[in-house]
Symmetry: C2
Subunit: 471 residues, 2 copies
Amino acid sequence: MDEKRNLELQELDYETLQEQRTDELSELLESREMKKLQLKMEELNEFDVAEFLTEIRDKRMPMVFRLLSKEKAAEVFSHLEPPEQERIINSITDSELAGIVEEMYVDDAVDMMEELPANVVKRVMRTATPETRAIINQYLHYPENSAGSIMTSEFVDLKKYMSVKESFARIRRIGEDKETIYVCFVTDAARKLEGVVTVKDLLLADPDTEVGELMDRNVVFATTTEDQESVSEKISDYDLLAIPVVDKEGRLVGLVTVDDIIDVMEQETTEDIEKMAGMMPSDKPYSRTGILEIWKNRVPWLLFLMISATFTSVILTHFEDMLAVQAALVAFIPMLMGTGGNSGAQASTAVIRSLSLGDTEPKDVLPVMWKELRVAFLCGLTLSAVNFVKMLLLDGMLLGNDEITIAVAATVSISILFIVMFAKVVGSMLPIAAEKIGVDPAVMANPLISTLTDAVSLLIYIHIARIILHI
Amino acid sequence: MDEKRNLELQELDYETLQEQRTDELSELLESREMKKLQLKMEELNEFDVAEFLTEIRDKRMPMVFRLLSKEKAAEVFSHLEPPEQERIINSITDSELAGIVEEMYVDDAVDMMEELPANVVKRVMRTATPETRAIINQYLHYPENSAGSIMTSEFVDLKKYMSVKESFARIRRIGEDKETIYVCFVTDAARKLEGVVTVKDLLLADPDTEVGELMDRNVVFATTTEDQESVSEKISDYDLLAIPVVDKEGRLVGLVTVDDIIDVMEQETTEDIEKMAGMMPSDKPYSRTGILEIWKNRVPWLLFLMISATFTSVILTHFEDMLAVQAALVAFIPMLMGTGGNSGAQASTAVIRSLSLGDTEPKDVLPVMWKELRVAFLCGLTLSAVNFVKMLLLDGMLLGNDEITIAVAATVSISILFIVMFAKVVGSMLPIAAEKIGVDPAVMANPLISTLTDAVSLLIYIHIARIILHI
């Protein structure tokens, strides 16, 4: 057996191994060898079992789930998506459900509650023990996306006067169900956080040393109402495995582990990306968001931007007669607006991302402007030169548009330079301004910048046309 | 002292505490109390010390750095950005430099080498011991962004026949300098990976149990040439603290820890966001990227999109005469193109993000299309209705544009419906098509979709105008 596995390791990557295992499970299910299926699932990682269950689309799924042992069942359940969780809840008994909820980490249970339909939540709460119900209720009351809402209360706490030996005894006694045992928190009699000690510190120390001597008093901590994004930054900056969460009185109430933070980072990034594309952020994955909800997230910005485009219409109407004299000019309006929008979006995206990573700060407004001015000049000059040649050769000679004179090509090309410079400076400054007044810079992205640059690009173009073409 | 700290904890959050500490350090520096400064810095977290050093902009910075103990110096150094690292390297002796490099984790040293200028790298390599130099060279040869390039070789390896007691003895002996001791890998005589055992398993087991009985044979592993994004997905999916990296022969060569993966996630997200805004991805933060490099990253897409806009110009030129008959129509072209671009960008952004999170897969092409069609119909209908009323009331009556007849308003409004439907379907389908043919879906975002929808929006508008206005 070992020989065979080594041979496999030698030739395969993990993905292929995992696929083989899932295929094996599917075959066992098809041939109804339930006993073997049960044994195989017990051996596998809970994430792989969850993936396998998700792939069983018919009503055998809850049945297969019920083959799992109590501990495995809770772990696998935490890895399932809400629709699968719901299907399972609807087909197991109250006592099975209670068993799973008791075995789950509180933060996973709370996550689940936040996503399940109300009637399912009611049933889950009814079957839970009063203690679990009380804890879950408490967690559900922390503000959404706060440290309190993502923390877990399953931590190991030690006292200053404990020896290393006593600490290990305590970890062995209570460690089994804790989300992490590697970071232990030291609290005083009033449960106030005094320090942190890692299992590494304990392992490398003499068994008789007291925790008080080993612990680091300089604890990086979060407060229950702190935003999850700030918690995630601390874990990432300080390379922590877990961060303690304290209440207003400085009492230790929970911890957030690094794996929770990975989910938070994905969620926050999705929100940023959605805002940058002119959507309201949604808290559900795309595949599980309904039509009406998507419509509600998308239509407000579309409406706002559509109505804002009235400026551009008014400008165009105002200069209608002038543009009629040089009809060739109209054909390049979309290209100029597009170039302005794209240039601005590049600058705003770069600055928004840099702000969100803490690489740029609002006080860097002048260096950023100076940088973007120079980049814009280079980009504008390149585009301008290429466009001049392109208009004369491609539009003028190849496509045979005899309205394209050197003066018209010059008008469009010079406009490009100014439009790119305007768009890049505005695109880089608006996010910084937003951050300064406490608005999320992500909303200053592409859609808003384009609408703004559309109108200004047009004005630049018309004024340059007046100067060069004397119209 | 303890009383005071508790009092602080009671009233303050971590940010305020940290600021106070940094202020204290600055005051000590200003009053040249170097001995006190040294002691204070030793107490602080290495990330906070690095932040403090970064804020000293003058030549005292390297001097303050030299106050740190050897171990602290290496840790702080890993947390500094390349410009600060370079300043320090240029002002310390060869033996000090050698000391730091020996103390650093290999992955941090390799990260640093990849970012420093060639002459500085040369000096670092010259001062390192031959062994360190050999390891760093080996790591620098792994493909960029591969598991090999981000792993570290500082892991704890155990053997199957070791008892728990012996394992702890080994961890105590070699654990001090390891990046993690909590996940230990079990290898055979040929260094092939056989299993994984955690310190938690070891702590909760009987001291005489053999590692072979405790270890999990189902190891989730990565290979040296595997892309870092896939490594990061495994760590996140399986909630791992560390993942072993094996070579082609299945031999254990390193491990990647969860804190490395957080940096990878940030970097990959930045790349995605940059691609979505029509930029080449850069591997340096915005604040440290030079003008010419930014220009090189931005100008290719701008050029490509500018030249692609020729389609729109040609269409406009072709229908010049027709548009001249109904001059009012021209004023709404930018709004229609903007609405098409924004609608398409919303759909493409949602699908790109969903693909990148593994929530949508290329095989979901039909459900996605059906979903976007319905969303597009709802959004299109809303915009269309609002626009009809807006054109008659705002543009027609309030702004007194008497060219806006009911027929013109109807033409624009009906066009909106079709444009939004086209944009959303194309916006959602292009990323899936890209993923299918192995191109990064992120490049199918906003800029490309807008250019495409610009041309099609115009054609839709012109054809609807012909039907309704009989021109």
